[in-house]
C-alpha cells in the first residue's frame, strides 16, 4: 500500500533548519569515522556497527519527535542516540566502556541508553526492540499521554516472528508507534531478496491494516516530511504507522565483515547518492549554504568529536567491586 511518498524536491527548509539537518548528519558521520579509527586503535572493542550512509534516516525521523516521545533502536544506534540528543561525550565514553558513558560503560556500542531523553536503547537481538516499543506505546495510551514511540529496526528484522506479532498488536490496539524500517538492503550478508518473499516492505506492513509507505531514506527532507506526517497522524489517534526508509550502509556490517556479498561498484554507486553530499549540494545550489557556513559546521563538529574523545579518554573505569550492581534495582530508588 505504497501511498506514494511525499515529494520533497519542491520544498527546501529555511536556512537554519537546513543547517541543523546537515549538522546533525555530519555529527553522526564524523563521530562514527572517529569510532572506526578508535576501533583500530583498540579503544573501542566488541561489535561496532556503523551507520555511515544512513544518517538521513535517524536525523529525519527525530525531527518529528518531541522530548516527551520515546525512541527504541538497534545495535546500529549511534546515529539515533546522537540525533535524539544524547550527549556525544556520553556516547563516546560508552563506546570506551567508561563509567561516564550513557549506560555507565556497561552496554558499549550496542547498548546506548538514556532515560532523560527517553532513549530506550540499544537492542542487540534483531527484532527484540519491537515489543518494547509496543509496550511503551501501550503505557502512553493507557495513561492518556499523546506521545509517540519511534521504533527503528533493519529490514532483516521483518522476517522475525516478533516483527509480525508486534505489528499486529500495535495495529490491533491502535497504539502510537512509529515503525521505522531501515531498509539498507542487507542483513549482514543476506540481501533482501534472499530473506523476504515479498520485498515491498510497505505493502507487507499494510497487510496489518497499518498505514505504510516507502520513503527515500537518502533524502533527509523526505524522511522528515514523512515522519512528521506519520507522527501527526499518530498523535491524532490514527494508530501506528510504518515507514520503509530506503537506504544503504556504506561500511561493512561490523568491523569483522569482509563484504563478500556485494560489489564495490554497488557501494560506490550508493555513495554518490549519499545523504550528506546530496543535501549539501542542494543547499549550495539554492544558496542556503555558503562555503564558510559549511566550514563552520565542520569545525563545530570536529570540535565536538574531539571533546567527546577527550571526555572518554579522561573517563574512569568502574571499580571491579561494582561488578554485581544493576542486576537488581538498588533499594530506595523506586
Amino acid at each position: 500500500m505504497s501511498e506514494g511518498h511525499p515529494n520533497p524536491h519542491g520544498e527546501l527548509p529555511d536556512r537554519e533548519h537546513a543547517r541543523h539537518l546537515l549538522g546533525q548528519m555530519l555529527r553522526i558521520r564524523h563521530f562514527e569515522e572517529k569510532c572506526a579509527e578508535l576501533y583500530t586503535a583498540e579503544k573501542i572493542r566488541g561489535f561496532l556497527h556503523l551507520y555511515i550512509g544512513e544518517e538521513a534516516v535517524a536525523v529525519g525521523v527525530m525531527q518529528a519527535l518531541g522530548p516527551e516521545d520515546a525512541v527504541v533502536a538497534t545495535y546500529r544506534e549511534h546515529g539515533h542516540a546522537l540525533a535524539r540528543g544524547v550527549a556525544m561525550s556520553a556516547v563516546m565514553a560508552e563506546m570506551y566502556g567508561k563509567q561516564e558513558g550513557c549506560s555507565r560503560g556497561r552496554g558499549g556500542s550496542m547498548h546506548l541508553f538514556d532515560l532523560a531523553s527517553r532513549f530506550y536503547g540499544g537492542n542487540a537481538i534483531v527484532g527484540g526492540g519491537l515489543p518494547l516499543a509496543v509496550g511503551l506505546a501501550l503505557a502512553d495510551k493507557m495513561l492518556g499521554r499523546e506521545q509517540v514511540t519511534a521504533c527503528f529496526f533493519g529490514e532483516g528484522a521483518v522476517a522475525e516472528g516478533e516483527f509480525h506479532e508486534s505489528m499486529n498488536l500495535a495495529a490491533l490496539w491502535n497504539l502510537p508507534v512509529l515503525f521505522c524500517c531501515e531498509n539498507n538492503r542487507y542483513a549482514m550478508g543476506t540481501a533482501l531478496a534472499l530473506s523476504e518473499s515479498q520485498t515491498d516492505l510497505a505493502l507487507k506492513a499494510a497487510s496489518y491494516q497499518m498505514p505504510a509507505w516507502t520513503v527515500d531514506g537518502m533524502d533527509v527532507l523526505a524522511v522528515e516530511k514523512a515522519a512528521r506526517r506519520a507522527a501527526e497522524a499518530i498523535r491524532a489517534g490514527g494508530g501506528p504507522h510504518f515507514l520503509e526508509l530506503a537506504t544503504y550502509r556504506f561500511r561493512a556490517h561490523s568491523m569483522f565483515d569482509p563484504q563478500l556479498y556485494r560489489d564495490k561498484a554497488e557501494v560506490e554507486a550508493w555513495k554518490q547518492k549519499g545523504p550528506i553530499v546530496t543535501l549539501q549540494h542542494r543547499l549550495e545550489g539554492a544558496g542556503l549554504l555558503a562555503a564558510e557556513d559549511l566550514a563552520a559546521i565542520e569545525a563545530a563538529v570536529a570540535q565536538e568529536v574531539a571533546a567527546a574523545v577527550a571526555f572518554a579518554e579522561a573517563g574512569t573505569w568502574e571499580p571491579l567491586e561494582e561488578l554485581g550492581r544493576f542486576v537488581y534495582r538498588e533499594e530506595g530508588l523506586r
Binding site: 520515546a70 563509567q99 558513558g101 550513557c102 549506560s103 555507565r104 560503560g105 556497561r106 552496554g107 547498548h111 541508553f113 538514556d114 532515560l115 530506550y120 536503547g121 540499544g122 537492542n123 537481538i125 527484540g128 519491537l130 515489543p131 518494547l132 516499543a133 509496543v134 509496550g135 511503551l136 506505546a137 501501550l138 503505557a139 502512553d140 493507557m142 495513561l143 516472528g161 516478533e162 506479532e165 508486534s166 499486529n168 498488536l169 490491533l172 550492581r325 544493576f326 542486576v327 537488581y328 534495582r329 538498588e330 530508588l333 523506586r334
Partner: protein
C-alpha cells in the same frame, strides 16, 4: 473455604483495585475467564482495557509488558502455561532481566509474569513441563512458587512492590487446593523459605506442586517414627540457602524433591548448595527425587510414574536414613 484459584483471583482483584496502573494481560484472561478460571469475572469488574485479552503472540505481549513497565504501568502478564513461555524467553532473558544492567542502572522493569506450571492432568509431553529451573538460572529475575493459599494470596501483592521482574509459578494441581484464608491475609515476603513442618531426622526440601506430596510423605514417615522437617523454598531465585542449611545442619540429611527433570534442574542447585554449606554436618549425600528424565507421557499410570509421588518420597527418605553414618 476457598481455593488456591480464589486466592490468586483475590490477589489480582486487590492489586487492580489498589493501583490504577496495574493491569492484567494475556491469552484468554478476559472473555474466556482464564484458562484455569483464575481471572473469571475480572473482565466484567475492571473492563477490557485492564483485563486485556491478547492474541496468541507470547513474545510480543510479554515484551509489551516489559515496555509498558518501562513506560510507567504496572503490568501483570499471564503466560497461560510455562510450556508456552519458551516463545517469550528471549524477551524475558534478554530484555526483562537484562535492561537494568545494560543501561547501567537506568531502566528497571517492574513487571510481574504469572504462569501455570507442572504436570498431573494428563496433558502429555508438550503441556506438562516444569521449567522453573530455567527461570531460576537467570540473574535479574526473581522467581517464586507459591504453594499455599496464603502465598498465592500474598506473593502477588509483594511482587508488585518490587522494582524488578518477578516470575510467579502457579502449579496446575494446586488451583483446586482448598483451605481457609484468614480475612486479613495480606502481603508475604519473597525472600524466605518456610519450614512447613518441623522435624529432626532429615530435611525434605521442595516447592510448588510437590509440597502437598512431601507433607503427606512426612506424615507417613511420622507414622513410622521418622520426623522429617519440610522446607518449602517458596522463592526459587534468590534461593534462601540459610534456612535450608540451618535445617540440614540439625538433621544431617537432606532429600530434595522437585518435579523438574533431574539433570541441571533446581534440585541440583539445592543439593550443590547444601553440600557446599553443610558438608561436614552431613551424614549422607544429599539425595534428589525428581521427575523421570522423559517427556511426560499421556496415560495416567505412566504420567504418575514419571512424577515424584508420596511412596517414592517415603522410600527415598528411608533410604537416606539407612545410608551413611
Amino acid at each position: 473455604m476457598s481455593t488456591y484459584r480464589d486466592a490468586v483471583r483475590e490477589a489480582l482483584r486487590e492489586a487492580l483495585t489498589a493501583n490504577p496502573r496495574v493491569f492484567l494481560m494475556g491469552e484468554d484472561v478476559g472473555h474466556y475467564g482464564g484458562c484455569y478460571a483464575v481471572s473469571r469475572g475480572l473482565l466484567e469488574e475492571f473492563g477490557p482495557e485492564r483485563i486485556r485479552d491478547t492474541p496468541l503472540s507470547e513474545s510480543a505481549f510479554v515484551g509489551a509488558g516489559i515496555g509498558a513497565a518501562l513506560g510507567g504501568m504496572r503490568p501483570i502478564v499471564e503466560v497461560m502455561t510455562v510450556n508456552f513461555s519458551l516463545l517469550a524467553l528471549d524477551q524475558i532473558l534478554n530484555n526483562a532481566a537484562t535492561l537494568l544492567h545494560m543501561s547501567g542502572g537506568q531502566l528497571n522493569v517492574p513487571l510481574v509474569i504469572r504462569m501455570a506450571t507442572g504436570a498431573g492432568r494428563q496433558l502429555a509431553a508438550q503441556h506438562s513441563h516444569s521449567l522453573e529451573g530455567f527461570y531460576a538460572h537467570i540473574p535479574g529475575l526473581r522467581v517464586v512458587a507459591p504453594a499455599t493459599l496464603e502465598d498465592a494470596r500474598g506473593m502477588l501483592g509483594t511482587a508488585l512492590t518490587k522494582p524488578d521482574p518477578v516470575v510467579i509459578f502457579e502449579h496446575v494441581m494446586l488451583y483446586n487446593l482448598e483451605g481457609e484464608l484468614p480475612a486479613g491475609a495480606g502481603a508475604v515476603d519473597l525472600d524466605r523459605a518456610a519450614v512447613r513442618r518441623a522435624g529432626r531426622d532429615l530435611t525434605l526440601v521442595t516447592y510448588g506442586g510437590c509440597l502437598p506430596k512431601v507433607l503427606e510423605a512426612a506424615t507417613r514417615l511420622a507414622e513410622g517414627g521418622v520426623e522429617a522437617e519440610v522446607i518449602d523454598l517458596r522463592t526459587l531465585r534468590p534461593l534462601d540457602t540459610a534456612t535450608v542449611l540451618d535445617s540440614v545442619r540439625r538433621t544431617r540429611r537432606a532429600l530434595v524433591v522437585d518435579e523438574g527433570w533431574r539433570s541441571v534442574g533446581l534440585a541440583a542447585e539445592v543439593a550443590a548448595r547444601i553440600q557446599e554449606g553443610a558438608f561436614y554436618q552431613l551424614d549422607a549425600p544429599v539425595a534428589r527425587l525428581t521427575s523421570a528424565e522423559v517427556p511426560i507421557p499421556y496415560p495416567r499410570h505412566l504420567e504418575q510414574a514419571a512424577l515424584p509421588q508420596v511412596p517414592g518420597i517415603v522410600d527415598a527418605a528411608r533410604a537416606l536414613l539407612s545410608g551413611g553414618g
